[in-house]
């Protein structure tokens, strides 16, 4: 009797976790808890995701008919520029590292926090400061140069290039600080027993990503500084009419911006490794190959920027070298795909929502990756350069890859983040809508590009209309697919069923603490005695926590 009452009391007594540890707006804005900072990022990033999405829908709406009927060419230029800038710099690059990475890295490492909690908070403020400049640039009239800021247009353009450049410059520091924090944390704060080759592949992927962030982002920063100097003082480094070299800008720009693609996709691959392992209840096949392939992608990423410049007047020899090197990126990428597939083989697969996203990811990533090989081929690229083929290719990688993984990861770790489950039926519907909508939007664009429809035109020849209508229809389905999780996630925060500590058969340390975790992550620093993805019968409480009176 007494025992039963005690048990009941214990149930009613509210548990302290990071969400209810303290209250008030100040406790959030001044928090140094990585989990709360992840949620702050989630809020900021979601705003930009829907802003960028709104621009995308405007673009698709304009392209519904061959004639430019809802906006001027100038407005259209600004529309696709804003879509690109917002989505790349304010959503895709920070999304998985800043939200999921921030939340999960210390948990997966058995650490109390990231190595530099205050710098972590600072990086969120820096992100928002950059966002303010960007929003100002958007409100003050927008930018019409395309997200790549190619000179000399970006030097001569009368649109809001300068505040936009400042916004991206500042935002870059946020990315650098996050990367720096992750690397130091992974090096110095692993729990006892957690050796490098026991780390979850999510951690390996973030390690590789962080390397790119700290090596690439500063180059973009100085490029933007030089661009700013050029605009403000009217001098020539990149401006050909003043003796400068516009191609130099492209070299410097792509030295960052090609690796930036891997900032978007590597964390996504990390998420997928976690999902595949958890929902097939198997150790990832060839663990160390998958781990090292992340590093290989990070390294190769810095050697292939010239494949963006095949038609830029760079020498044919340089083009051949970059073409050759670009093929190499396919090797580590294929290693990952093959290893995931091998992991699935004879696995006990369960079809929960995160797994649906993982499957979606693999399919879309294969299409995106294979078309990447087309584009790496020097001769073929000259044919499809700056057509919708390219647009479709990078959307398959960046949206089909990064966004699918982001959504899959959000579903997978949602119970850990909020302590609540989401409605499974709705979630499956949204995963399906995203997959169908995505393919309907972007597959026709491969055909359009192959037939020669150029990107960035706001009018097009009549015979392209059927495929464009399909694409726009797909975009609206995709839009619904994105709005749905937004609604049911918010709903579940209040009404969702209470989640267990380990609602999936997760094997990582993050599932070994309660949902949501306490502020210090673990009641005791865990000692790890098992390898990554070693699944036991129920995976609850793997490490020894029974240490009375300590």
């Amino acid at each position: 009797m007494i025992e039963a009452t005690e048990a009941k009391l214990k149930q009613v007594e509210p548990r302290t976790h990071y969400l209810n540890a303290n209250y008030g707006i100040k406790s959030w804005l001044l928090t140094i808890d990585h989990k709360r900072i992840a949620l702050l990022y989630l809020a900021s990033i979601t705003v930009f995701f829907f802003l960028g999405g709104a621009f995308a829908l405007m673009i698709r709406l304009e392209l519904l008919t061959p004639k430019g009927d809802i906006m001027t060419p100038d407005a259209y230029n600004k529309m696709f520029t804003m879509h690109g800038i917002v989505m790349i710099f304010f959503f895709l690059i920070p999304a998985i590292p800043a939200v999921l990475g921030n939340f999960l890295l210390p948990l997966m490492l058995g650490a109390k926090d990231l190595a530099f909690p205050k710098i972590n908070l600072l990086s969120w403020y820096v992100y928002n400061l950059g966002a303010i400049f960007t929003l100002y640039a958007i409100i003050a009239g927008g930018v019409d140069t395309g997200w790549t800021f190619y000179t000399p247009l970006s030097v001569n353009s009368t649109s809001q290039v300068t505040p936009m450049a400042v916004g991206i410059f500042i935002n870059g520091f946020s990315s650098i600080l996050t990367g720096l924090n992750f690397i130091v944390t992974i090096h110095t704060m692993r729990a006892p027993g957690l050796t490098w080759f026991r780390l979850p592949l999510f951690v390996w992927a973030h390690y590789a990503t962080s390397l790119i962030q700290i090596l690439g982002t500063p180059v973009l920063a100085v490029t933007i500084v030089l661009l700013g100097i050029e605009r403000i003082f009217g001098v020539g480094i990149f401006n050909a009419s003043l003796g400068g070299d516009p191609v130099l800008f492209q070299h410097l720009f792509w030295f960052y911006s090609h690796p930036a693609v891997y900032i978007m996709i590597l964390p996504a691959m990390g998420v997928i490794s976690e999902l595949i392992a958890a929902f097939s209840r198997k150790k990832i096949f060839g663990y160390s190959f998958v781990a090292f392939s992340s590093l290989a992608i990070a390294v190769y990423g810095f050697l292939v920027w010239g494949h963006h410049m095949f038609v830029s007047s760079q020498s044919v020899f340089a083009g051949m070298v970059f073409s050759f090197l670009s093929y190499f990126v396919a090797i580590p990428s294929a290693v990952k795909v093959f290893n995931w597939t091998a992991t699935l083989f004879k696995g006990s697969i369960s079809w929960d929502t995160p797994m649906l996203y993982a499957f979606g990811f693999i399919g879309l990533f294969i299409i995106g990756g294979m078309t990447g090989l087309y584009l790496a081929a020097l001769g073929l690229d000259v044919h499809v350069h700056d057509t919708y083929f390219v647009v479709a290719h990078f959307h398959y990688i960046m949206v089909g890859g990064a966004v699918m993984a982001y959504l899959g990861g959000m579903h997978y770790w949602w119970p850990k983040i909020t302590g609540r489950m989401y409605p499974e039926g709705w979630a499956k519907l949204s995963a399906l809508l995203v997959f169908i909508g995505f393919n309907l939007t972007f597959f026709p664009q491969f055909l359009l590009g192959y037939q020669g429809m150029p990107r960035r035109y706001h009018e097009y020849a009549d015979h392209f209309q059927v495929l464009n209508v399909m694409s726009t229809a797909g975009a609206s389905i995709l839009g619904v697919g994105y709005v749905l999780p937004m609604i049911y996630f918010i709903w579940s925060m209040r009404y969702g069923p209470i989640a267990k500590a380990n609602p999936w058969p997760g094997s990582g340390l993050e599932w070994q603490t309660s949902s949501p975790p306490p502020t210090e992550n673990f009641e005791e620093t865990p000692t790890v005695t098992w390898d990554a993805y070693e699944f036991t019968k129920d995976n609850s409480r793997r490490y020894d926590v029974v240490k009375q009176g300590s």
Binding site: A111, K112, D113, L114, A115, F116, P117, I176, L180, N181, I183, V184, T185, H187, T188, M189, I214, L215, G216, T217, P218, V219, A221, V222, T223, V225, L226, I229, E230, F233, G234, V235, G236, I237, L242, G243, G244, D245, L248, H251, L252, F255, T525
Partner: protein, 230 residues
């Protein structure tokens, strides 16, 4: 002041297990930050190297480079190397027993003075460029024929971008050093914990090293061809 013999030090942050871990994290963080700085300056250095190897611009670079005052540059190089020495000594005395606190503060103040000296000399150089209309922009003029004139402007743009960014790093460094001197005066450091002094030392040496590369690239390369300034 701080009880050095107890395992939990007053400077130990909540999320670290021990001082050793905290020290490792701080120092690795600083090295990685400096790595990002190398890449940051690297972009501008790349621009310099590219133009230096472009035939026509290369010629203009030699012309423009020869208007710089090599002696001021040389003095500044010496000043910076001395400041690196004083900073290294400050770190050394921070690591040793606490009665060397005054020496530690003295050397940090010397570092500030040397840093300011560098900036003042740099200011004179900038003023000279200003009076000769060598500041890139609308009022720019350079005594060179035709297309070479516009190409010399590229040199000065890169010169001001690189030395300007370098000077900015020095200004930030001096401000941080003043804060650290204040902390030292308040006896916040001990041989067990002096991470800010040590990490700042790394930063300061880095800023010096950037100048060590800037000086030959901007001032000396091509200097011998024309035999002197002005």
């Amino acid at each position: 002041m701080a009880d050095s013999h107890v395992a939990t030090h007053s400077a130990l942050a909540h999320h670290f297990d021990n001082m050793e871990q905290q020290r490792e994290a701080g120092s690795l963080g600083m090295w990685i930050f400096l790595l990002t700085e190398i890449m940051f300056f690297g972009g501008a250095f790349t621009a310099y190297i590219v133009y230096r190897n472009t035939p026509e611009v290369s010629e203009a670079f030699v012309l423009a480079s020869n208007t710089l005052d090599v002696w001021l540059g040389l003095i500044n190089t010496a000043v910076l190397i001395c400041s690196s020495l004083t900073m290294a000594l400050a770190v050394y005395y921070a690591q040793t027993e606490t009665d060397s606190k005054r020496l530690q503060i003295t050397f940090m103040i010397l570092t500030v003075i040397l840093g300011l000296t560098f900036l003042v000399i740099k200011g004179f150089e900038y003023a000279d460029k200003f009076t000769h209309h060598h500041i890139p922009g609308k009022t720019y003029s350079f005594p060179a024929a035709g297309v070479l004139e516009s190409k010399t402007q590229i040199f000065f743009t890169i010169y001001f971008a690189l030395t300007g960014l370098h000077a900015l790093h020095m200004i930030i460094g001096i401000v941080i050093l003043l804060v650290i001197i204040r902390m030292a005066a308040k006896k916040r450091f001990s041989p067990e914990w002096h991470a800010p002094v040590e990490l700042f030392g790394l930063y300061w040496h880095f800023v010096d090293i950037v100048w060590i590369f800037l000086f030959p690239l901007l001032y000396l390369l091509g200097f011998h061809l024309h035999g002197g300034a002005h």
